[in-house]
Amino acid sequence: MTALSQATEVVDPVPGAAAPHLPQQPDLIQLLTPEGERVEHPDYAVDLSDEELRGLYRDLALVRRWDVEATALQRQGELGIWASLLGQEAAQVGAGRALQDGDMAFPTYREHGVAWTRGVDPLDVISLFRGVDNGGWDPVATGFNLYTVVIGAQCLHGTGYAMGIQRDGAENAVLAFLGDGATSQGEVNEAMIWAASFSAPVVFFCQNNQYAISVPLERQSRVPLYQRAAGFGFPGVRVDGNDVLAVLAVTRAALAAAREGQGPTFIEAFTYRMGAHTTSDDPTRYRLASELEEWKLRDPIARLKAYLVRSGKADAAFFEAVEADETELAAKIRQGTTEMADPPLTSMFDHVYAEQTPHLAQQRAEFVEYHASFADGGDH
């Protein structure tokens, strides 16, 4: 036996990477089983009113409806691309609802569910994928940074922002999002070193959806991701990312610790990307249909619905009302998208600098003049 194969054998295989067996994972924090059974955990609890529970269901259902509508709009040529969150609704809504006013979230480009919880207008997210702008929302007013497309770069931004919170003496925290693939990025590792060294109030929220486009988790890591945190010197926890209650409880606890000056936490939300990486992707080339079927049994929305129904916390009228809201939201998104105006021609010159340079002002003027030189005044 070679040294290499020995080394490989002693490594803890990444549980569930190829064929998940969630109930067999002792470290997985769960408060709601895939069957919708409410279970207790010794370290994490949530005490939500029936109304709050119904609110979470509504979030999940509406976010999924938004996502489905956006995928359809892309197929119909209305969007250039769409990055679907299908299957990750609980991870995102649970994390987003753990944030308080004054906290700041640093998303990747898939956190539509978190955007929803921060009150971002879905059309301001859609505009990015339609090619109108790079995201239309106000990151300061919403406490939700603009999407960052370069993988992992936002983890450093979140950490730096948290260092600013420290210097301000504020009791806020940062939630920095990343995926399983991003854990291989040097910048993500640097962010965790900075966060640890300065005890910055930042929580790293990793949605392990098992694939970095096509490449499975075992190519990124030979240990469960949450165990990486120990090497940086702060706690790492693995939560069932399809369990909105557990995600909410774990993220709340981590953010509270950060606000209290206890430093960072790494949360691995164990979940699954039910759809493609983006609408440009074909997941049948790299994963089995049986895997998807297995994860469908762990659907984040179905389990909360089962719990609400079985416990009598929501009745048929409630679900009908949510369905009506879904229909209304989809119609609003569809209409808003198809009616969305193209950006003004000169907008690419705007905001390159806070203080415009003479050179760019001249280039802009030449561009305007060039367009005006056409017989139709540039409206060709």
């Binding site: 790079n134 995201g135 990151p139 770069a153 919170i165 210097r167 640097e190 070193i193 900075w194 905001h351």
Partner: protein
């Protein structure tokens, strides 16, 4: 009036101190800049006086320095990042080009990025690989960044303060081999604008353009040329992005000849852009093509060869001769 004789290094140190006194949001970040005061001592004594929250000895990772600076800037701080040597900026290149440069535009102006990236640049100090480079063209090529290069203590003192107070991200190049050059600095004066080139020696025969460490070389060349009866006008470009070429155009229209000098490799260096713009703007005034003197298109050589690689007085004069020979 308060005039002191300062080196470029000390002028930067005093300028940083003044900027930190003027604005409590100014935070210095970098490797070895605290207790040690930086490998060139540019931040000497600042951590002692302002504390380690404002003069931060960072972990050893350049992307981390720039990436956390972005977050601090979003929170309202004005980070001043020291990159220890020019060749070490590349681990941070991703953050600078994909984030620092683009966030203001991405956010439609909602997120200003008042970050200064200080980089000691250029060769001539007998160093090992990666310690002598001139990477300014990479940054001047990137929309969203501004790029300046100082050549003397007066500009160092005022320029660093102006850069820190400016709302856009600025890559601030410091001529490391000239750190010990001295000049009188009046710290009560009213400084001229940061983004402006300056004629530092008047002349009639050939316009010589330079920035950073090459300004001194160009002035030496002008001195030598004068002994042979040739009058060189020397312009310190000072700002590399945006370029301020109106004074250059004015000069070239008079002289009809121009030589651009930089340490950076010739191909697609600043000289190429400058030559193109001069040709576009002053075509009918030119008596000769705009000539460039730069480093060769090789990796920066081992230090025993660097004097051959770097433009010097003789290579500048050779280009002047060629220009006059057309």
């Amino acid at each position: 009036m308060s005039t002191q004789t300062l080196t470029i290094g000390k002028a930067l140190n005093l300028g940083l101190r003044k900027a930190m006194e003027d604005d409590a949001k100014v935070v210095l970040m970098g490797e070895d800049i605290g207790k040690l005061g930086g490998v060139f001592r540019i931040t000497d004594g600042l951590q002692k006086d302002f504390g380690d929250d404002r003069v931060v000895d960072t972990p050893l990772a350049e992307a981390g320095i720039l990436g956390t600076a972005v977050g601090l800037a979003m929170r309202g701080y004005r980070p001043v990042c020291e990159i220890q040597f020019d060749g070490f900026v590349f681990p941070a290149y991703n953050q600078i080009v994909t984030q620092v440069a683009k966030i203001h535009a991405r956010s439609k102006g909602r997120l200003p990025m008042p970050i200064v990236i200080r980089i000691p640049f250029g060769g001539g100090i007998g160093a090992v690989e990666h310690h002598s480079e001139s990477p300014e063209a990479y940054f001047a090529h990137t929309a969203g960044l501004k790029v300046v290069a100082v050549s003397n203590p007066v500009d160092a003192y005022w320029g660093i303060q102006q850069a820190i107070a400016h709302p856009d991200p600025i890559v601030f190049f410091e001529p490391k081999r000239r750190y010990w050059e001295k000049a009188e600095v009046d710290t009560d004066a009213t400084p001229g604008p940061l983004f402006a080139s300056r004629v530092v020696r008047g002349g009639d025969d050939v316009t010589v353009l330079a920035y950073g460490p090459m300004v001194k070389t160009a002035l030496q060349a002008a001195e030598a040329a004068a002994e042979e009866g040739r009058s060189l006008e020397v312009v310190d470009l000072r700002t590399l992005s945006p370029l301020d070429l109106d004074p250059v155009f004015e000069s070239v229209r008079r002289t009809g000849r121009c030589v651009v000098v930089h340490e950076a490799p010739l191909t697609l260096g600043l000289g190429a852009e400058i030559a193109a713009r001069i040709t576009e703007t002053c075509f009918h005034s030119l008596e000769a093509p705009v000539l460039r003197v730069g480093g060769y298109d090789t990796p920066y050589p081992p230090s025993k060869l660097e004097e051959e690689y770097l433009p010097d007085l003789d290579r500048v004069l050779d280009a002047v001769d060629r220009s006059l020979g057309f």
